[in-house]
Point group: C3
Chain length 154, copies 3
């Protein structure tokens, strides 16, 4: 039976995808010293990478949607870290968000709000997090956004 948070996600029309397995000698999350460190999650929808470069091939709204996908992928990993019970999530502590953009793009915060707004919409106050929003010169496979996160479980 889905818990409270997953019922709220369903209201938002969001079903968590299976937590993606990393393709190499790293893992999707590590729990240490009371926190869960989740690997950078790239923008992906229905198993397809969402690619683009803000300021060039991708509009702001699309970038925000890509950031939201990263946040959904982060929650999938947190659910796995919590043994399947997402209600054990106590707090989203910190996001570091990398936006694939041109050198003159300046709307990183609006892009990353796609992730931040979703987390607060889905999780309420426990979704409020510290964050950084910066541009990367480029990202894996040309994806539009990559976000890593630190989470606290109860």
């Amino acid at each position: 039976m889905p818990g409270e948070i997953e019922r709220r996600l369903a209201e938002l029309g969001v079903t968590l995808p299976a937590a993606a397995a990393p393709a190499a000698n790293y893992v999707s999350y590590v729990e240490a010293a009371g926190l869960v460190y989740v690997s950078g999650q790239v923008s992906m929808a229905n198993g397809e990478l969402v690619k683009g470069k803000l300021g060039d091939t991708m509009e702001l709204a699309e970038g925000a949607a890509a950031a939201r996908l990263c946040a959904i992928a982060l929650l999938s990993q947190v659910k796995a870290a919590a043994g399947g019970d997402l209600d054990r999530l106590k707090r989203v502590v910190k996001l570091t968000a990398f936006v694939n953009s041109t050198p003159d793009f300046g709307d990183q915060p609006a892009v990353v709000n796609g992730a931040s707004d979703f987390l607060v919409e889905a999780l309420g106050d426990k979704g409020r997090h510290a964050r950084s929003a910066v541009s990367a010169a480029s990202l894996p496979f040309g994806v539009a956004v990559e976000i890593e996160g630190i989470f606290e479980l109860a």
Copy 2:
């Protein structure tokens, strides 16, 4: 009455600005598992963003001054996290510093020293931190520097 650290800041001619409130669904800091995670602080002086691109529109000394402003903003947030008593700061643990630069700029360390030198000048040994200094392709609103930090409170 200002505490010891704020008296030292005053000697250095630094008055902490009011901690900036984030403009979105994130918060300026989260305390978790014994540490304070402070959101990326952008270079800003007297409420005005300090913009520039190192290697192009901004000189090294200006970049270092911008990094120092980020460090001051970080301390403002730490003071808020400490309930107004900055003397509760036990240690600056880690800074991640993003410099807005051209692709061939290589003086990130000298820029970020503007923050590191200030923190040690203001805080002594408790200001010595681990850090990374890298270039971002671009930063929010074209600011010159963005620095996030992890802090330990007593």
Copy 3:
């Protein structure tokens, strides 16, 4: 007498260099709240910086070798943090890897696998870590890779 991990490193042909001292007002690592935060380590071999830009002046295999050098440098710092006994390393928790690349480069994961593969080869399961792999617009002195890490000691 070298411990178990350093004997394994010797089998791999790796001798840890002396932990590099930072050239400024920051330190190579800080231990706080049960974890060791290691400053970004740049690619360096025998005291010489390994410079290059992926997608332009450096091939993928060279980039992976540069990432491996960063991982070796991180272990040198962890050894120093552990008072010289690397066997106290309990877990590599998290790496954030910055690749110096052109704006259209997309093979950051393959570059950073040079570090991830080495850590698992050298440390087994305790070397499996969460990670992010992104491109930086540029890196200090033009180095090819910079990696920071969070480690847990026993």
